[in-house]
């Protein structure tokens, strides 16, 4: 039973599909495309908010926690995503924004930019 929202990779991709209105197969955006955006979001979060990842790479709680590892998720499955609860929705926004960047309609471009901005805003980056 889930104890919090957006716990696994599948949760993030599933929520992104809801906002993309792409929940019925055959999907407009493939799992691989959305997963790539999700991992790019992790990388971007690592760049903007390094403190989120402090402690994630520690093998023991008594080892100094200044060796953060950049997580990578290779498949859309039930692998838990180790990310602070209050910032998880930001990854959904980035995944959506990245997916919509590939479209060349003007309104999609605007939505892509808006979702990327929401990603930064949600992370609290000025």
């Amino acid at each position: 039973m889930p104890t919090a929202v957006l716990e696994t990779v599948a949760d993030y991709i599933g929520q992104a599909r809801v906002l993309l209105q792409d929940t019925v197969p055959d999907y407009r955006y493939t799992d691989a495309e959305l997963l790539a955006g999700f991992n790019f979001g992790i990388t971007e979060a690592y760049n903007l908010r390094f403190d989120i990842f402090v402690g994630l790479g520690a093998t023991s709680s008594r080892v100094p926690r200044f060796t953060p590892a950049l997580p990578y998720y290779p498949a859309v499955d039930t692998t838990p995503v180790n990310f602070p609860v209050q910032y998880r929705i930001a990854l959904v926004f980035y995944t959506i924004g990245h997916a919509q960047l590939r479209d060349d309609e003007n309104d999609q471009d605007q939505r892509a930019v808006a979702f990327k901005a929401m990603f930064r805003q949600q992370l609290g980056v000025q």
Binding site: V54, S61, R62, R65, G124
Partner: protein, 212 residues
């Protein structure tokens, strides 16, 4: 360290740092505590070590503190071989490398010396990731530690809790609190006490004997 005390501190910090993460606060807290102890000299420990009479001059005596801590300064050394002496004589020595004592004058016979050293924090931290130091220091200087962590956290660039004016304010409060702690250490927490006493080793006369 009592988890209740730490939980209260972290809760207070999170109220003032929207979006701050525990790991980031733990990291800054380590730096704050290190600065606090090095500047205030409040954390002290007495460590006894034996000196053999036949040791050559400039012999190095290695001392290690009891818990997870690092020796920062040497305050003084006393000769505590004779436990019946009320005012043990002071011994001169130095510590070029923290933890390694070299005596100015090597004794002719076996002696037991007690070195009082100032400590600071070190790795590894506790199992929950928080830096380790005596409980009473957090209880007594909670507000000072809180100001220190707030100052450092708020000075981080591009964070939801970044606030440079408040960072300066809290850092000033922290510096003031460290000064208070330094005085407390000198007066050994006695209210209104003078920080200096006439060296008792020079006290030849006693009042009880009418000055003779």
């Amino acid at each position: 360290m009592a988890s209740v005390e730490i939980a209260r501190l972290i809760t207070n910090l999170q109220l003032r740092l929207p979006g701050a993460l525990a790991n980031a606060m733990q990291t800054e807290m380590f730096v704050v505590m290190d600065k606090f102890f090095k500047s205030s000299n409040i954390w002290r420990e007495d460590i006894t070590f034996e000196v053999a009479g036949q040791d050559p001059p400039n012999t190095t005596y290695t001392i290690t503190p009891a818990g997870s801590s690092l020796i920062n300064k040497l305050l003084w050394i006393y000769d505590v071989t004779d436990t019946t002496v009320v005012s043990p004589p002071q011994v001169m020595g130095g510590m070029r490398i923290p933890g390694e004592i070299v005596l100015s004058l090597q004794p002719a016979e076996n002696r037991v010396y007690q070195a009082t050293v100032v400590l600071t924090v070190t790795d590894p931290t506790q199992r929950d990731g928080y830096v380790e130091f005596p409980d009473w220091i957090l209880s007594k200087y909670r507000d000072v530690i809180e100001d220190g962590v707030l100052g450092r956290m708020m000075s981080q660039p591009n964070k939801p809790y970044t606030n440079l004016p408040l960072a300066q304010f809290h850092t000033r409060q922290f510096t003031s609190g460290v000064s208070t702690a330094r005085v407390d250490a000198k007066t050994q927490n006695v209210y209104g006490a003078q920080t200096w006493r006439y060296p008792q080793t020079f006290a030849v006369y006693r009042q009880r004997r009418g000055g003779f």
